[in-house]
């Protein structure tokens, strides 16, 4: 019978292995998604990083976010695959390694990535090596999240609903103007 200490060490070790395994899967999957020249293949690979991050969310005690990510991944695969194969266009004309956008867009991208790196350096300097809290925190269920969303973030929730309605209306208008 393993002692409590050994069970704790085993759990820690499992979390470590799960983290590094899922991190490798997520990075490889993201690179494979971005590097595909055929969108249908990219849609087929996309569940890999989404699933890996969903597994990490489960490790981080956020099962609802993980479930939402899984649903998003399934929707991406299903709808995206259908659209990509239906369109029939689907090979990029030039090598994917060649950046052929306009100069302004390229400068904007380089500036964006540089700003992101600066921000990360600042964050890492302040929280270097900070350990995460233990997983035995009280479960964060749907009711607790609903209360937080309604009480603390009501304005943002309202804005989000308005934005989603606007997105839906825009998509409907576009498809009515030129029926799919």
């Amino acid at each position: 019978m393993p002692t409590a200490a050994s069970r704790y060490r085993y759990a820690q070790s499992m979390e470590t292995w799960i983290f590094w395994g899922c991190a490798a899967l997520a990075v490889v999957g993201a690179l494979a998604t971005v590097g595909q020249a055929r969108p249908a293949r990219a849609f087929a690979v996309m569940p890999l990083p989404v699933g890996a991050v969903a597994a990490l969310c489960v490790v981080l005690n956020a099962p609802l976010v993980a479930a939402a990510l899984v649903v998003l991944g399934l929707a991406l695969t299903g709808v995206g695959w259908w659209v990509a194969t239906s369109l029939g266009v689907l090979q990029e004309r030039s090598s994917p390694a060649v950046i052929d956008s306009a100069g302004g867009a390229r400068r904007f991208g380089v500036t964006l990535v540089a700003l992101l790196m600066l921000e990360l350096a600042w964050v890492f300097r302040h929280i270097r090596g900070a350990s995460l809290r233990e997983v035995d925190a009280p479960p964060m269920g749907l009711s607790a999240m609903t209360v937080t969303a309604v009480a603390d973030h009501a304005t943002t929730a309202l804005l989000l609903v308005v934005l989603l309605v606007a997105i839906g209306a825009g998509a409907l208008l576009l498809t009515r103007r030129d029926p799919i």
């Binding site: 981080l60 991406l76 956008s101 929280i127 995460l132």
Partner: protein, 103 residues
């Protein structure tokens, strides 16, 4: 033995996913792949939010993460419709050839 993951590890992974997605947005020449690159960035952002949530012992990060996922689903729907219309009208998914939405 692998090092135990810390808050930094999760932040670094989220940042790496964001940078990979940003690279895809600026390097790809197909609207659908650009859309997928944005989704990769969003996945990195959600991971960062959830990790910060766990680090701070709060639940707000998960709430915002769910909203980000909902928005990304809407963005995906709209992006797919626009891609479909681009193909119907211009027979191309090259973002450089889409001029209808220019100011």
């Amino acid at each position: 033995m692998l090092p135990e993951p810390t808050f930094n590890s999760y932040l670094l992974l989220g940042a790496v996913l964001c940078v990979i997605g940003a690279g895809g947005v600026f390097a790809r020449r197909n609207l659908l792949t650009v859309l997928l690159s944005v989704e990769v960035m969003i996945v990195g952002v959600v991971l960062t939010l959830v990790a910060a949530d766990r680090y701070l012992g709060r639940i707000d990060g998960q709430v915002v993460g769910l909203w980000v996922i909902a928005l990304s689903a809407g963005q995906l729907a709209l992006g797919l419709v626009i891609a479909w219309l681009c193909v119907r009208r211009q027979h191309s998914l090259d973002p450089d050839e889409v001029t209808d939405l220019r100011w």
